[in-house]
Symmetry: C2
Subunit: 345 residues, 2 copies
């Protein structure tokens, strides 16, 4: 019989609350014969304050033994900016070679988009996850003096770009519209930009059915608000993907619905699934957090592990829940219960 050994990192702020709902729905949707083993890891701001640890080697090694990781949210204003991001969240993405950062954007029925006219939105962003300006390469000289120089180095390799571009072509090829857009800024970032563009064009020859185009990142933000329906699959660099997917979340009804998967397609390392939103300390503990993004991340997790039918069931439950919800304000728990009930049916 099948089993899922799942690592759970609730993290900070609303992380605990939303992860609890994600697990509730996961339990409800799984077939009886699938054994779910979860192990919780205490990582994040509290741990750092108590011990100074962010992600000790022993825990990294333990996490590696799991089939997948479900993460809530990392970060708290009491921790200096960058400490937990670099030494915990990004460390996980890099250590487990999560080179496909997958972020679907869909405008579900009955959700509040800030865009007039409710365009049809249904695209996925394949964000590179292990290179670009996220490598931590850079430094600061004469720090804190009037002569300070600080650098950030975006590192891009043919190896790293080709594998994520290829993944994006595969995804585009499997979708009805078969359209892939490369977003970069190759008129200014000419070295990295040309590397991306050349590989994008070359790999494209292997996918004659996929229609391609190229947009500078600044122009892409315009189309996100004026013509989001033009996008099907987008492939882009780590930083541009970070920016674009928050904007995508905003136009598709907010960060409360945006799911993501940090995927290691080779299966050498566990993939990690997390809502795009942060720890939202201002509403932590109030029951106001929307767990839907986490639940949709669980759907991505199931698809990654081969439970396609269950993944679809969750997506359908979310769509139905959003369509049929009334005007009542629901708590984190109530939304989780509603979704769990739907998928269990």
């Amino acid at each position: 019989s099948r089993s899922i050994r799942l690592a759970v990192i609730p993290g900070d702020g609303i992380g605990q609350e939303v992860v609890a709902q994600g697990l509730k729905v996961l339990t409800a949707v799984l077939p009886q014969d699938v054994k779910l083993e979860t192990k919780e890891y205490d990582l994040g701001a509290k741990r750092w304050h108590a011990t100074g640890d962010t992600l000790p080697d022993a825990e990294l090694a333990a996490l590696k033994q799991h089939d997948a990781i479900l993460l809530g949210a990392i970060g708290d204003p009491s921790v200096p900016s960058g400490v937990l991001e670099r030494n915990l969240l990004l460390k996980l993405r890099f250590a487990f070679d999560h080179y496909v950062n997958l972020r679907p954007s869909k405008l579900f029925p009955n959700t509040a988009t800030p865009l007039a006219g409710r365009p049809e939105i249904d695209f996925i962003v394949v964000r590179e996850g292990t290179e670009g300006p996220y490598t931590g390469n850079g430094g600061s000289l004469r720090t804190g003096t009037p002569a300070e120089v600080a650098t950030e180095v975006s590192v891009n390799t043919a190896y790293g770009v080709e594998r994520v571009v290829r993944d994006a072509y595969e995804r585009a090829n499997a979708r009805p519209r078969k359209k892939l857009t490369l977003v970069h800024k190759n008129n200014v970032l000419v070295y990295a930009g040309h590397l991306w563009k050349n590989i994008f064009d070359r790999v494209g020859q292997e996918y004659p059915e996929v229609t391609t185009d190229y947009l500078h990142v600044d122009a892409a933000t315009i189309f996100f608000v004026t013509q989001p329906e033009r996008f099907d699959v987008i492939v882009t660099d780590n930083l541009f993907g970070d920016i674009l997917t928050d904007l995508a979340a905003a136009v598709t009804g907010g960060i409360g619905l945006a799911a993501s998967g940090n995927i290691n397609p080779t299966g050498e390392f566990p993939s990690m699934f997390e809502p795009v939103h942060g720890s939202a300390p201002d509403i932590a503990g109030t029951g106001k957090a929307d767990p839907t993004a986490t639940v949709l991340s669980v759907s991505l997790l199931l698809r990654h592990l081969g439970f396609e039918a269950q993944a679809v069931r969750i997506e359908e439950a979310v769509a139905a829940d959003l369509t049929e919800r009334g005007d009542a304000v629901r708590s984190t728990d109530e939304i989780g219960d509603a979704l769990a009930a739907r998928v269990a049916d």
Copy 2:
């Protein structure tokens, strides 16, 4: 009597057409006793195709003698991406130390915003113009092979950051709301991000009346579409400013209205004013280009040269023109004529 020695670079595509309207309005708004001397510089795609020149030293030296530069648009698909951007447009910005890239965003009456509910939008972005990922620092090793590595280096100096941050505080302090937002990504780009944040906080102590806040660039894009009214003045890095100002243009009625000034506040070099939009080769010569962004850039030019009353007259003319225009589709020329007539009154 006063005079303006203006360099004009019409550039490519619709550049010619929109610059002609900008000059028409400039001529109409200037007091009789101000002598306007314009000199046109033939730079851009055509010149590059004919001679291989982008911006020869002699022309750079000649441009330096002017009080200001009016630029239409640079770029054409027939020129490899990056050639004209790096060797002409960015070369001008860097050579003339345009460290304040000023981009106002205002939702004028009767313009089509993609945002539901027409929020009030009236903010300015102070984009750093001479550092960050735009320095051309970087390279590519084993280019074109499977072992290629391409880097882009963002260079940030205390010198460069402090002067633009100070400029932004001055602008915020002079506005009724007195609010300044720093946008960066200091949880990932920790070296550059901390440099920006430290200088932002330190300089802020000299402006006790200015309210400040900080946003990561990804979060900022969310607020641009969900709560744009929260912004007054934004200061940010060269690349983030590039991305945010295209998004700002999109939510305030489109790139046809977005003006910009590449300003050298010390006056050592001529400042350069240009619409945010590109050369739009697809509509060049059709009379469909909206010259309003160029006309508003002329307003910024006049303000920079001390003609405040005339700058305001242009802004008021644009607001009135947008409010009172009917449904008729107007040509580039007709819009220019209408604005020229209004400012001449």
